[in-house]
Amino acid sequence: MSVSGTSAAGEKRLSGAAPARRPAPAFDAARAREDFPILRQRVHGRPLVYLDNAATTQKPRAVIDAISRYYEEDNANVHRGVHLLSERATRRHDEARKRVARFIGAPDPREVIFVRGTTEAVNLVAQTFGRTRVGAGDEVLVTELEHHSNIVPWQMLCQEKGARLRVVPVTDTGDLDLDALEALLGPRTRLLAVTQVSNALGTVNPLPEIIARAKARGVPVLVDGAQGAPHLGFDAAASGADFYAFSGHKLYGPTGVGVLWGRREHLEAMPPWQGGGDMILSVTFEKTIYNALPHKFEAGTPDIAGAIGLAAAIDYVDGLGLEAIAAHERELLALAVDALEAEEGVRLVGTPRERAGVVSFLVGDVHPHDVGTVLDRHGVAVRAGHHCAQPLMQRLGLAATARASFGLYNTPEDVDALVRGIRAVREMFA
């Protein structure tokens, strides 16, 4: 399948991005697929159809090579050595930070903090910004769509401070109830933590509207971009958000590295989180002077290779064109939604106004685990379970769903394989 042309916004994005590879006029998923060595294999005797991209994406050769090359040619500790390798490693780590800053439209690379992933980013904000801003009787607002990693850190903070965790409900379609949001934004609301895209249902939240409503009440906003970054990207400066968090491994980069972006004035005012090397300017037993941004929040030797791998992943994605990838994924998702809706005995879970990357479904009364096992034996990898969103599952009255999630290398043939697998499920459990 091909998608015509890159949009103007995509071109604009690319012009500043020095892409490693010019986007073809039409996005060619089958060709991109060849960049991913892991996808060449067969599983259970069938070609691998990988539809678990919301859990983690596969890695292109360019990312694998960048990590290997770093270890083969440049490996040394950063910010320490006077020797050549350390200078090179430091420079490449700094370049990776600048690359991330360009990707998410951060005005200043010092606002980009490398962390282990989205979970760590949210915990960092909860334990620093949250701890200094939230007191007894205050409120932290999350939504029913959140992943556990954007619930539990806030719950822990609220327990510690005697604050109240409040929840923006979803409608039956899986969209946030914006009227309820309006009503919940009150004088004691100290922060709104909201996801860009639901990992369980694929709902794309109307962030501009949500952020505008929070801002009108002076409430800072943290956006969980774990699912959003790979499908929609983000423009930090234009968004009005205060914090943005995402993971490298859901963006075709390595596991173990992620990003917290925060507005400079917040990051400057926040106390450090973890203590150790790199985050200090000077240490005596009486007093430690903390380092400047971003190092204040990066105690210890960072995941240098991870950051370099993430930058390579961003180069790869921008080279193909995020807009072109997004258009391709939208077409695939529409195809999958139509095919599943037409399939006897299949029920979609969540029918949000706008959707990215994910479709959740049930097959008759077959338990999603059994659906997942049968699909796996047909070469189709999906996720089955509560998707780390138990409160959302509870709201929907379900214990679990099966979830197919798409990436840039998926094709219409993958949707066909999913449908064939689902028919095999129905046959087996008829």
Binding site: V366, H369, T373, G385, M393, A399, F429
Partner: protein, 149 residues
């Protein structure tokens, strides 16, 4: 390569669809709940113990075909046995679902042998053992929800 039908044998599918001993147990003396945090499945087991013997046992909850079938076959198997006998059988059963039929005396397991295909599916071992954990916890006098983790 193992076939799907090794896991989902006819008997397993049948017990998954029409579980025996399903529902509340009147006069239960022991109860516990098994929870699989990976998938959110819950199996609650209730037993009536008299003179050191399980006279009746039933289960309730939500789960996949494997966990429901396992609970169904297990409850049938447990009636008339002592907690010590159940512990001993569980050891064999656990070996069956982790190592396969070659690792155990399949005959001593009777009907439980239908779970011999589970060992080819490591992610499903917890589904098969969940009801057993709940039953053994109940008979030990527990009552707290126990987890497969």
């Amino acid at each position: 390569m193992s076939e799907l039908t090794d896991l989902y044998q006819e008997v397993v599918l049948d017990h998954g669809k029409r579980p025996r001993n399903y529902g509340p147990l009147e006069g239960a003396t022991h109860r516990a709940e098994g929870l699989n945090p990976l998938c959110g499945d819950r199996i609650a087991v209730q037993a009536r113990l008299e003179d050191g013997v399980v006279r009746d046992v039933r289960f309730e909850g939500s789960g996949c075909a494997i966990s429901k079938a396992s609970a169904s076959v297990m409850t049938g198997f447990a009636k008339g046995r002592t907690p010590a006998e159940i512990d001993a059988v569980f050891e064999q059963f656990h070996r069956l679902v982790t190592e396969g039929p070659g690792a155990v005396d399949a005959e001593s397991l009777g009907k439980l042998a239908v779970f011999g295909g589970v060992h080819e599916y490591p992610t499903r071992v917890k589904c098969a053992s969940l009801p057993w954990h709940a039953l053994r916890q109940a008979l030990r006098g527990g009552g707290e929800a126990i987890s497969t983790e």
